[in-house]
Symmetry: C2
Subunit: 421 residues, 2 copies
């Protein structure tokens, strides 16, 4: 198949060459490629589903958990959802060329600070084939070439999708080599990608802590980890307890397998006995396994709460389990969140502006919520459009990584012969 270039260096070099043509492409041309991609996803659904069926039938997929098989599986609705996602990206403004600042300098020079593409973005991901399309579409729109590295067990699905992206890109006259797919399966590819200085401008791994640690050891190219979320909901003493019950339940249960779901509930001691029996009852009824400190267990009104150890406060369960702690003060809550949190999304439910303000000021995280669920940290919800992941880093991108976060800046300075005195 045309898209499966297995050599990392070769794929990155081809992407780098193509990136130059893409960087100066008109917004309309890039949008036309994306429109065509959305069409092709519709026209060639059967082809995609056949590739996906072959992946699912392959022995490499035999050892997958039911959850992973579900993430790998495609059907007509999922392919339609991909096309809809691509059309949404078309509707977003082109970030390239945006003038962030313009001024005439003391020297008389005219300076513009412009948004420009990064160049080549590598994305490392697992299971879900739709990531192939989402990430390629975001990179194309932001003028970047992309090197995709998916799971080996999704090879045929990813290959079929990447081939359609390349076809759409070529049809509008842009360089199809701007989209590269590595076959996957070989762990050494990760190190090669993450050290491809001069060829790759940014690596975005979408995966767990294992992937993160593996890359940290070897990366010389900049990496943005779209990784873990150990998120908290803290209920202050002056909270509206009905609101707290709703917010905490939603943060845990509505979609427990994602990074902005809550993992730990902290409750001020003065409201623990009023809140915990009902809230923990709701959670237990929904099937959430609860662990907690002694006081949470005692205040739980008979709901079963297992003992929580140090490890529980640190863990992103990504599932139907929650740790519950009782604290004596706002300070203790902030301390706990800053100590154990991963800097993703943190919420306080509080009645007073003073407590809310201290929480938003002092908690060190990408997104801090007052009286709302942590589940809103998301490019769509934030009005940024689609996202390529969520960053818990502080540099370059913090929070949702959208089109703007896939760009860098360039100062363009025009003069009439100015020299420095």
């Amino acid at each position: 198949m045309a898209t499966a270039t297995t050599g990392v260096a070769e794929a990155c070099a081809a992407a780098k060459r193509a990136a130059r043509g893409l960087a100066t492409a008109e917004g309309g041309t890039k949008d036309a490629a994306l429109e065509r991609l959305a069409e092709l996803l519709g026209e060639r659904t059967r082809e995609i589903l056949e590739a996906n069926a072959a992946d699912l039938a392959d022995e490499r997929a035999a050892g997958l958990t039911e959850a992973l098989r579900d993430r790998l599986a495609l059907d007509e609705a999922r392919v339609q959802a991909m096309a809809a996602g691509v059309r949404e990206i078309v509707s977003l403004p082109d970030p390239v060329g945006e003038v962030i600042e313009a001024r005439t300098l003391a020297s008389g020079l005219r300076m513009e600070k412009l948004r420009v593409p990064l160049g080549v973005v590598a994305v490392i991901y697992e299971a879900r084939p739709n990531v192939t399309v989402d990430c390629a579409a975001l990179c194309l729109k932001s003028g970047n070439a992309i090197v995709l590295r998916g799971s080996s067990y999704a090879e045929r699905s990813n290959g079929a999708l990447a081939a359609l992206v390349r076809e759409a890109v070529a049809e509008v006259g842009l360089p199809e080599d701007a989209v590269q797919l590595l076959a996957g399966g070989d762990r050494s590819q990760l190190a090669e990608l993450a050290s491809a200085e001069g060829l790759v401008d940014l690596v975005i791994p979408r995966g767990g802590e294992g992937l993160k640690h593996a890359l940290k050891e070897v990366a010389t190219v900049p990496v943005i980890y779209a990784a873990s979320g150990n998120c908290h909901v803290y209920v202050h003493e002056d909270a509206d307890l009905e609101m707290a019950r709703r917010v905490a339940y939603n943060a845990k249960v509505q979609r427990p397998g994602v990074c902005n779901a809550a993992e730990t509930l902290l409750v001020h001691s003065s409201v623990a006995e009023a809140l915990l029996p009902v809230l923990l009852g709701d959670l237990a009824d929904a099937g959430v396994e609860l662990v907690g400190d002694e006081r949470a267990g005692a205040a739980g009104g008979g709901v079963e709460v297992g003992p929580a150890g140090e490890e529980d406060w640190r863990t992103e369960y990504l599932g139907m389990k929650m740790a519950v702690g009782v604290v004596e003060s706002l300070d203790e809550a902030i301390e706990h969140v800053n100590r154990y949190g991963s800097g993703h999304s943190e919420a306080i439910v509080a009645g007073s502006e003073e407590a809310a303000g201290r929480f938003t000021d002092e908690v060190d995280a990408a997104a801090v919520y007052v009286n709302a669920s942590t589940r809103f940290t998301d490019g769509y919800e934030f009005g940024m459009g689609a996202e390529i992941g969520n960053s818990t880093q502080k540099l370059h991108a913090r929070g949702p990584i959208g089109l703007r976060e896939l760009t860098t800046i360039k100062y363009v300075v025009r003069g009439t012969g100015q020299v420095r005195e």
Copy 2:
């Protein structure tokens, strides 16, 4: 001396603790600390000069080149210049708390994207003691704690200056541990600093390629290299040749030891014979050693031009030497710049908007100039105020690293009990 904490882990941990107090400090309090620092620099000049004299008399300074000794040496005027620099930083707007974006989301949530401090910034630098004061002042103003790691031969000068910064910080009631100075001299400190995850949020090395490579191997903390500038001036066929002569001369000669000085001159073949004899004559008269390709030598009108090898096109001379090349086209010039340039500052001298536009679009660098000297890439010149260095990276900061580049962002989201459907 109170400031010289030699243990890296200890210094970073102390800075981290202090950073929290600094992050929420009022702008007025931070400015008061800086005002006091400027005063102290005046009041205690003798103390500073004595420490500096002791450094210069020390055997560690005996082996320094004359240029390095000059960079190390302080006098009353240089100390006054430091104080003036600090007062300029006071006059800049506080970046912390700046609302970058605010909107009401579809869910009814009120979202603000705010600028917040990074936390702890480590700066690695050589020779010039004024960097101690400049960087500490920039970090304080932007709400960051700082860990300074200077040269061992500047130990007493840096120590005296860091002690004054701490004194000023303490006098206004802020945590003095926000300013840490490592004694230097031990190369293993670099690796320890660059891998102090969870304690250090950003490392900024101000030094040559050697320091850069040493850190690339070991860094797990984000690093912004304030490093090399292999900058070019390209003279297009339709350039105003008098302007080209002035701009190229200035870019090379006005201050050859800095990163935004030009290292290579490229000239379109159709103007080489008209321009090079006068321009190369000017450069030779100023004491610039010239090397070049054959055609540059032939067009030079008798000015001595040595042979330039591959290595010359790659080299940042940082001194009175320049490589000269003749090209056949704008494409060839852009190709050369993108191949050999370090992505710092690149200039074209051209009469037509078309050539200028292609150069600014296609050259991949932090700053691209039309009809002006490369020497303008600088925080002051760009109206950003003082800078902590110049970044040739694409992520987070590109170009001058000023107060804004020393911050990250935080989304603060306020609701009335919203949950995700």
